[in-house]
């Protein structure tokens, strides 16, 4: 995962700094993701609330926008369609950072995946 190891490297890669920017404009929280930890797991360990649902990548409740950095999904992010992935959306419940990241989080982000189709 991480290319160069470093402090905290347990063999699966170094910890990464995650800046979680609230989509509702209420501020930004910084947390640290340990090696192989998902964004959601890192946020929970830091007592930082971000929305989630199924925790298996099926429901999109935890959708975030990756503003910078890189992540690898642990498994297929089934709730995201190709157009969503191309637009930079990720699922925090299964997204493992592979670099320091900045993500836009909060319930408003999941709402961006769909719109009222009749309107």
């Amino acid at each position: 995962m991480g290319p160069d190891g470093g402090p905290g490297d347990d063999g699966d890669g170094p910890p990464h700094r995650l800046e979680l920017e609230r989509a509702d404009g209420s501020g930004t929280t910084t947390v640290t993701a340990r090696a192989a930890e998902t964004v959601l797991e890192a946020a929970e360990r830091a007592d930082t609330h971000i929305p989630f649902g199924c925790r298996t990548g099926a429901c999109a409740t935890c959708t975030a926008e990756l503003l910078s950095g890189t992540v690898e999904h642990r498994r297929e992010p089934r709730a995201l369609k190709p157009r969503h992935r191309e637009a930079g959306y990720v699922l925090t419940c299964i997204a493992v950072p592979t670099a320091d990241c900045r993500l836009r989080v909060g319930s408003d982000v999941a709402g961006e995946l769909t719109e009222n189709p009749w309107r």
């Binding site: 609230r22 509702d24 209420s26 609330h49 929305p51 989630f52 649902g53 199924c54 925790r55 298996t56 990548g57 099926a58 429901c59 999109a60 409740t61 959708t63 089934r78 709730a79 909060g106 319930s107 408003d108 999941a110 709402g111 995946l113 769909t114 719109e115 009222n116 189709p117 009749w118 309107r119």
Partner: protein, 474 residues
């Protein structure tokens, strides 16, 4: 709570195992009407899943006693221990179908998390102060190759069956999970795997050896929100499955076609001898009648037919590019089998039909409240109603109809984004079964926007003594 066991005429005349009524519930639907007291409280799902409010979903206890100082208020809340559940539909550990099982009580609520697949058991021994008793964690559910629990029905013999909409990955097929009522452990799959692909609601009529199940979609399809591309790709359901109840096998699948897109709630008539029932097709906005058209050799369910009996026309709206479908999201049958009620969640009306002739429902009345065509303030001087009539519940005597306004958190966000900011309401109509009419009760509004942690969505409603959408008779 238990009835006196008196025979109420025609309803019971065909009861081929007239018995000492030992178990929970009422001997007959007519007994439920005659012997029940007016409901004094309701259990209602309250939701925070998918919002920025850092709180778990909860079971709300709503005071329905007009003489109480806290009438129409949430007087207690049982918070679940986790966030992210999306508590949705829920049911009792036992109902009138367990009439032969002495020692059973209608006491425990089985409350699944639709998104988390976590199943909660709440003890309502103290009706006004229920307590969380037990939890089945998602991993235990996934071991049965199932996820996304939906409808909970108690079944004869003291078991509990849940419809499950997906596999552990949120993909198809779904199936059914069986719980043991004695300790709320997982017994395993109720159905042989592979009988169906999609699943949603179900209702069984044990004396007719039949169950009918309906179809929403794979969890991965409906969880994120509604997308017309998924409809065009055939990812949403339009079939009914007719099961042999004893054998747990699908004997017949009925394709409802374009007019039956997304068949959701399904209700048999309450009479245990009837083979008639109704299902609401949400997207096509129609109501179908289904019933047995021929018996088959042996004691199987026979052959069923389904026919559209109510068609809700889409309506032009000045702010919409395309006509707005009604979106029939919930329906129920009164305990005397005379009236059908259903909600048009997008339009904003709740309708009442006389179904004395179940093949020819007769419109009798409706109430407009919220939605995209009803009044924003159906009660003058009260808060704004966002969302339309959705989950319904009717008193056992058929005289009070209640409803909430939330459908599913991600779908609410699409169609009523204001609901997340303002929360749901619970409303009530006074029903006159003799005249076939409804009147909005302007003294009754439960404001789920005023919860301690912040505005909540309100979903399904249950009474402690059983209700028109949970009790089945054997």
């Amino acid at each position: 709570m238990n009835s006196t066991g008196h025979d109420s005429g025609t309803e019971h005349a065909h009861h081929d195992h007239d018995h000492d009524h030992e178990g929970p519930g009422y001997t007959t639907p007519q007994a439920a009407i005659e012997e029940s007291e007016p409901e004094e409280l309701a259990y209602v799902m309250g939701l925070y899943v998918g919002t920025d409010i850092d709180a778990p979903d909860f079971l709300a206890v709503v005071d329905l006693d007009p003489d109480s100082a806290t009438y129409a208020e949430v007087v207690d809340r049982v918070e679940m221990p986790n966030r992210g559940d999306e508590l949705h539909h829920f049911g009792w550990n036992a109902c009138s179908s367990s009439c032969h099982v002495g020692g059973l009580e209608r006491r425990h609520l089985v409350i699944p998390g639709q998104r988390s697949s976590r199943i909660h058991v709440v003890d309502t021994k103290d009706r006004r102060d229920p307590e969380l008793e037990q939890i089945i964690e998602p991993e235990e559910v996934f071991e049965e190759d199932l996820s996304a629990p939906h409808t909970v029905h108690c079944i004869p013999g003291g078991q509990i069956v849940l419809s499950m909409l997906g596999d552990p990955d949120g993909e198809l097929p779904g199936g059914f999970l069986e719980l043991d009522e004695s300790d709320f452990s997982i017994d395993g799959r109720w159905d042989p795997p592979g009988e169906i692909e999609m699943n949603y609601d179900f209702w069984y009529q044990p004396r007719r050896n039949v169950m009918v199940s309906t179809e929403w979609a794979a969890p991965e399809t409906y969880y994120p929100g509604f997308d017309l591309d998924d409809v065009e790709a055939g990812k949403y359901g339009r079939q009914l499955h007719i099961w042999n109840w004893e054998e747990k096998t699908v004997e017949q699948t009925i394709d409802l076609g374009e007019e039956g897109m997304i068949p959701l709630e399904v209700r048999f008539l309450h009479s245990p001898v009837s083979t008639h029932g109704f299902v609401g097709a949400a997207l096509s906005s129609n109501v179908f009648n289904f019933h047995q058209v021929e018996t088959t050799p042996g004691d199987g369910p026979g052959r069923y037919a389904a026919e559209k009996v109510i068609d809700i026309e889409a309506r032009e709206h000045e702010d919409w590019d395309m006509p707005v479908p009604g979106l029939v999201t919930d329906l129920l049958v009164s305990m005397d089998d005379r009236y059908l009620f259903f909600s048009n969640w997008l339009h904003g009306d709740v309708r009442m039909y006389d179904v004395s002739d179940p093949m020819n429902p007769r419109f009798v009345d409706r109430i407009w409240a919220g939605g995209h065509f009803g009044p924003d303030h159906p009660i003058e001087g009260e808060r704004k109603v966002v969302g339309g009539p959705q989950m319904l519940q009717l008193s056992l005597d058929g005289e009070r109809l209640y409803w909430t306004t939330s459908l599913f958190s991600s779908w609410d966000e699409q169609f009523y984004p204001e609901e997340g900011e303002l929360g749901s309401v619970m409303l009530k109509a006074d029903v006159d079964p003799r005249r076939g009419s409804m009147t909005l009760d302007e003294e009754f509004l439960v404001d789920f926007g005023e919860m301690p942690a912040g505005p909540a969505r309100a979903h399904e409603i249950r009474w402690p003594d059983g209700d028109c959408t949970s009790d089945v008779w054997q």
